[in-house]
Structures are given as structure tokens and as C-alpha cells.
């Protein structure tokens, strides 16, 4: 049975920074807003993990920060300079109208956060203010409450309900009671973050299973550039207790510690010339280039049996640690980070590898964050376009700017419409309930004894074949394997038939999105026969603008696709064909500074 619940002007799905800001912004424009979160509103999603929970960087252009009174800001870093940096390093695949929004509105969101009483720890490289992600969430949550936004926690939204191509509300499950609810709404903003969960080693929270992108595609929205999966180098893989923690990445970014392979060698210089090594150590391209080297070492058997390469701070003196604690005072409140630091102080070793970190592809939107489904908007990581093929600027800024604008634009949309669809309870049961409850009523036998074993197989497949370095053989294998997993997935049943907090059912609902979206990542990676940004093909180790300066747009659940030109507003891309590494060098010659 589907319960019909309260209706709202707009329902925001997801309660990280993008979701909460969209809710605030829509409510400020007079709308009746609910924010629904798979977990607890205000403590779910990746926002809280920004910079390992202690060092989230929120960027604006240095000139605006200077004008706000930050005397360490880099005045010469103007909006124009910043825009160019992002588009060039996005390898010109950005939708420049979205990049434009990002650069123009960053100042406003920073100003708002400061006016709500937030204080940054310090300013870095003249452009980034450092906050803890939870402080940003708390400020937004407080603001949302003051505007009477309704918060609904532990509501796992499973589907966007549409009628004649228009949004009519959302279907979701109360994770605790297992009841299925329908809430009518005139518009929906998807702000569900990324797809990290399709890899075992990832830097996200457990709920990031590509839900928003999956349900958008099911509802008829287009998605694009799913091959742009970014990995974060130096992420802890062992001890497994700390799996997914990026403290070694932050330490190495500040110049501390070293990486060694099984033979005790520093290996990065093996793969790159001195100019690229310099880029790998001192720019945002560290994520691609160091991940490349780490992945090679591990795949070629020079990793440790613990599952990665070694990170050590052996020989570092006490004062190095004191210095680090002084830079990030918040670390004293982050118990896991402190445990890791104590290990390092005791000269113990950590093992690290590239972890799934961020997806630059996702739901296709226009400059108002509208999808091609009427009334359906998307903001933050779950949507594509702002960063092209590589995100070199703050994702915190992205979520806030896009939440702000999506909330405003939703209000414009609702004002412009005079009729909204309504759907009957019986059609909801027919269209949605059956599929949601399917694994409770299955009598077939699968080779997989549970959904968890399917997830494990998917994760292994993705890491081995759709990792930081890809090729035709690996991607073809991955696609076939996922197709097989999808078949088996339909035969797995749930052993505990009670619907209250049912871990097997939750796994089913996660995989329902994640399996299809993993196939989208593998398929897009196979289609793009070149290397660009975070997408690296060893069999096509070059950038080919003539053929590939275009977006791969997937428009249905069978993953049929078409190509589209990126939106160009100010910077005309040159048309070149050159090796991947030479292309990176060329891009960086055109930008000012590393940021």
C-alpha cells in the first residue's frame, strides 16, 4: 500500500549543502518546502566529510574576498582569472554558463555564510576559506528551521513521480517502518550527491549510491558525462577501520610524508618527466596523476598485500605534528583523524590507494538547473557540467551556489505555471510499489545468496576495470559483468520478510540505482575513445578535440546515447590532438597559479 502524505510546493531530495541551501533559498522565496534525507537531515551526505571533516575549502575569487575584508586574499585572482582556470582545466568540456554561475555567485554564498555568523579558520592560497563541513551544515539547517522548512529524516526517496512529463511528487520509504509514502509536489530538486558507493574504496558516506542520478534517468531526465569519475589519491585502504579517510592526502598536499611501493621505492618519477612530477605534486592534477601512478603500482603487483602503497611519516619530528595541529585545530574534535595522527606519530605505517571521490558527470541541466522533465531540478554533485572533465575548484562552493540558484529558479518556475498534475493512488501502486517490493516475493534461485554479494562483485568489477586507468578490454568486461549482475539481481530474494529496518531491502534499493549507473559509467568510458581530465584510457592516451570535445548524453534506462556540444559563452576551445600528458602541460601554461 502507498500512503498519500502532505503535499508541498517543492520537495528537496538530499540534505547536504546543496539540498539544505536549495530548501533555504526556495523558502526565502515564499514556498512551502520539505527536505527529505535518506539519513538524518543535516548529518547525511558528503558535505560533513569535506577535507576529512576538518579542512573543507570554500572558494570564491580572491578579489571579492579581499573586498570582504580578507587581507590575505589574492586580489589579482579575479572572477575572469578563476573562470579561465576552471574551463581550461576542465579541458573545455564545461558548460560555461554553469561555470559562469559558479564564479559569479560564489561571493554571495560566502557572504551569506559569514553573515550567518560562520568564521573560517584561515585562508589558503589567497582564495579558499577553510571550514568544517558540519559547521556549514549546521548554519544552513538553523536557517532552514527559521524559515519553517519541513525536515523529513530517514526517508529514502526511491522515485520521482511524473505525469505527462511533469513532476507530480516523490515516492519514498521510511527506512524504520518500511512504509511506502507518496508526497505530492509541484517541483522537486534532486541534491543527492555522488556515486562513490559503486567502489569499495571511496571517500563518501554509505548513502551515496547514485540514487538521484538513477531516479532522474528513470523519470525521463537525461544524464551525461558519466565517465568523469574522479579518484582521490592517498586514501587509506588499511587498516580497514580507517578505510576511505583522506588525511594522508591532506598531509601530502602540505608536503608531509612519503609514498613507497613494496620495494621501498618512491615511484612517481617512474611514470612522469620532471615537469609532470611537479604538476602532480603541486596542482589539483595530483588526483589524476598520483592516482595513475598508485593504480599502476598496485595493478602491476608492487603494492603491499594490505591493498595499496605505503604512506609513512617516519623520521618526521614532533614539531611537524604540532605544526599540523595548529593549522587544523578542528582535528581535536575528529576522533578518527586523531587516532590516525597518533599512529603516524608512533611511526606506524598506513596503506593508501586511489578512492572514488567525486563524479563530474551526472544529471543534465540548463543554466537554471532545470532538467528536461518539467518541474525537476538538480543541484550540486549529482548534476553535470560545471567542471567539465575535471573539478579543480571547490565542491563546497558548487553545492552552495547551485542550491541557492536552484531554490530561486524553482520559485520562478512555480509562479509561471498555473496547473500541476495529480496522480491516483492506484496508479502509484501499479507503477512503483510492485518494483519496490519485488524481492520480497521471489521464488527463483540465484547464484548470489544475497544483495551484499552482488554489491561486492560490482565493487570488485569497478575497481579492477573502471578505475583511474581504463582500456577497451577492461571496460567491455565490466559492461558484460554488470549485465550479468543485473540478471542475477532480479532473482535474489530477501530472507527476512518484515519491512521494518530491513538491511537486505535497503541494499536492494541501493543496487537498483547503482547497478544501472555503474553500467552508465562503464559504457560512457568505453564510448569516449580518448583521455580527458579524470577519464584516462591507456589505449587512447591522447586528447582528441576533433572527435571528442563533446558530451556523452544518456537518455533512457537502456543506456541509449547521443552527443552534444558543451555550452560555450566566453572561451572558445582550441581544437587540438596531443598526448594526454602534453595536453595537461599546455593547459597549465594558460592558467594563473595552480588554483
Amino acid at each position: 500500500m502507498v500512503e498519500v502524505m502532505d503535499d508541498y510546493d517543492v520537495i528537496v531530495v538530499g540534505s547536504g549543502g546543496a539540498g539544505l541551501y536549495a530548501a533555504v533559498s526556495a523558502a526565502e522565496n515564499g514556498l512551502n518546502v520539505a527536505v527529505m534525507s535518506k539519513g538524518r537531515v543535516n548529518r547525511s551526505g558528503a558535505t560533513q566529510l569535506a577535507g576529512s571533516g576538518i579542512a573543507g575549502d570554500l572558494e570564491a575569487d580572491g578579489e571579492s574576498l579581499w573586498n570582504m575584508g580578507f587581507k590575505d586574499a589574492d586580489k589579482t585572482h579575479t572572477k575572469e582569472v578563476w573562470f579561465k582556470n576552471i574551463v581550461l582545466q576542465g579541458s573545455y568540456l564545461n558548460d560555461q554558463d554553469l561555470t559562469e554561475n559558479y564564479v559569479q555567485k560564489a561571493e554571495e554564498v560566502v557572504y551569506n555564510l559569514l553573515s550567518w555568523g560562520m568564521k573560517p579558520y584561515f585562508i589558503y592560497e589567497g582564495v579558499a576559506l577553510y571550514f568544517a563541513g558540519v559547521h556549514i551544515l549546521d548554519a544552513l539547517y538553523k536557517k532552514a528551521k527559521s524559515l519553517d522548512v519541513t525536515s523529513i529524516s530517514n526517508r529514502m526517496v526511491t522515485d520521482i513521480v511524473t505525469w505527462n512529463g511533469m513532476v507530480a511528487g516523490v515516492i519514498g520509504i521510511d527506512v524504520y517502518s518500511g512504509e511506502i509514502f507518496y508526497n505530492p509536489a509541484k517541483a522537486v530538486v534532486i541534491a543527492t550527491g555522488g556515486c562513490q558507493g559503486m567502489y569499495e574504496l571511496n571517500t563518501g558516506t554509505s548513502e551515496l549510491t547514485c540514487d538521484g542520478i538513477g531516479m532522474a534517468l528513470r523519470a525521463g531526465a537525461e544524464i551525461k558525462n558519466m565517465e568523469m569519475m574522479e579518484f582521490c589519491n592517498d586514501t587509506i585502504v588499511y587498516p580497514r577501520k580507517y578505510m576511505g579517510n583522506i588525511l594522508p592526502y591532506i598531509l601530502r598536499d602540505l608536503g608531509y610524508g612519503e609514498l613507497l611501493n613494496k620495494n621501498g621505492e618512491d615511484f612517481i618519477t617512474k611514470y612522469f618527466d620532471s615537469e609532470i612530477v611537479d604538476i602532480a605534486l603541486h596542482t589539483e592534477w595530483n588526483k589524476e596523476l598520483v592516482s595513475y601512478a598508485e593504480y599502476k603500482e598496485i595493478k602491476d603487483g608492487r603494492g603491499y598485500e594490505e591493498g595499496g602503497v605505503m604512506f609513512t611519516m617516519e623520521g618526521s619530528q614532533k614539531k611537524v605534528f604540532t605544526e599540523f595541529y595548529n593549522i587544523f585545530p578542528m582535528i581535536k574534535h575528529a576522533p578518527m583523524d586523531m587516532e590516525i595522527m597518533h599512529m603516524l606519530e608512533d611511526q606506524e605505517k598506513l596503506y593508501v590507494a586511489p578512492a572514488a571521490h567525486y563524479i563530474a558527470g551526472g544529471i543534465k541541466v540548463d543554466s537554471e538547473y532545470k532538467t528536461n522533465v518539467k518541474g525537476l531540478f538538480a543541484a550540486g554533485e549529482c548534476k553535470a557540467g560545471t567542471f567539465g572533465a575535471n573539478r579543480v575548484s571547490s565542491a563546497l562552493t558548487e553545492m552552495l551556489v547551485e542550491g541557492l540558484l536552484a531554490g530561486r529558479n524553482v520559485s520562478e518556475y512555480i509562479k509561471s505555471m498555473d496547473k500541476f498534475p495529480s496522480v491516483s493512488k492506484s496508479s502509484l501502486e501499479e507503477r512503483f510499489e510492485k518494483d519496490l517490493l519485488r524481492p520480497f516475493n521471489i521464488s527463483q534461485e540465484s547464484k548470489f545468496k544475497s544483495f551484499i554479494s552482488i554489491k561486492k562483485d560490482l565493487r570488485k568489477t569497478m575497481w579492477n576495470n573502471v578505475g583511474p586507468i581504463k582500456n577497451e578490454t577492461s571496460l567491455t568486461y565490466a559492461l558484460n559483468r554488470i549485465e550479468y549482475l543485473l540478471k542475477e539481481f532480479n532473482k535474489v530474494n530477501i530472507s527476512d520478510k518484515s519491512r521494518e529496518y530491513n538491511p537486505e531491502w535497503i541494499e536492494y534499493l541501493n543496487l537498483r540505482n547503482m547497478l544501472h549507473m555503474a553500467a552508465a559509467v562503464a559504457k560512457s568510458s568505453l564510448i569516449r575513445r580518448e583521455s580527458r581530465g579524470v577519464h584516462v584510457r591507456e589505449d587512447y592516451f591522447f586528447v582528441d578535440d576533433e572527435n571528442w570535445l563533446k558530451n556523452i548524453v544518456i537518455y533512457d534506462m537502456a543506456l541509449n546515447y547521443s552527443f552534444e556540444e558543451p555550452v560555450i559563452t566566453r572561451i572558445n576551445p582550441p581544437r587540438v590532438k596531443m598526448t594526454y600528458l602534453k595536453y595537461i602541460k599546455t593547459l597549465l601554461k594558460g592558467v594563473k597559479g595552480a588554483y
Binding site: 530517514n154 517502518s177 580497514r240 530472507s495 530491513n502
Partner: protein, 104 residues
């Protein structure tokens, strides 16, 4: 110790209206977290064991995994047991939904 005994509170009104405890044996090492122990049970012994897992940060930040271990509230993602036997219970037994999961 090479193995740890995990005594888990079990209850669900729909499934079985009686409260009881199950005992699981799990391989142990000195840096294992309670969350890893529960994952081991779920993946290798009993997939029906319910414990908070649908929305977790794994890093001691969100607080959503909070459970009672030997009568005291702990964060399973950062807690490493020191005794050979642990008793796991929901944070609020009077608000239990299923096994180790309770509402706030």
C-alpha cells in the same frame, strides 16, 4: 585473542515478538572496529541482522551508527573492543525497531 564473541540483542515485533540474544564468533585483530565486526556478521553469518548502516559517515562525525556496547553508548565506526566478549544492544531498547536499530 584471535576470535571475539559478539552477543547481539535480537527483536522485531513482526518477525518474532520475543526478545532474545544471538551469539556470533568473529575473527579479531587489534585494529578492528565494532562496525567491521557487525559487517562481518551481516556478510558472512546472518544477513538479517539489523544495525544502523543506511546512512553512515564511517569517520566518527555523523553519530548515526551509535549503539550500546557492554551497556555504554559507543560509535561502532571508531570503537575497537578490548574484551573477548562484547554485548551489543540498541541505543534505546524501549524504542527498538529491529535488533540493534532504535529510533531517536
Amino acid at each position: 585473542m584471535e576470535k571475539i564473541k559478539v552477543v547481539c540483542f535480537r527483536y522485531n515485533e513482526t518477525r518474532n515478538p520475543k526478545q532474545y540474544y544471538d551469539v556470533f564468533e568473529v575473527p579479531f585483530h587489534e585494529k578492528i572496529s565494532v562496525l567491521e565486526i557487525l559487517n562481518y556478521i551481516s556478510e558472512n553469518i546472518d544477513p538479517t541482522l539489523a544495525y544502523p548502516k543506511h546512512s553512515l559517515c564511517f569517520q566518527g562525525i555523523c553519530g548515526e551508527c551509535t549503539l550500546k556496547m557492554n551497556g555504554k553508548p559507543v560509535l561502532p565506526c571508531i570503537e575497537t573492543p578490548k574484551e573477548p566478549i562484547i554485548i551489543m544492544e540498541p541505543l534505546k531498547k524501549d524504542k527498538v525497531v529491529k535488533d540493534l536499530v532504535s529510533t531517536r
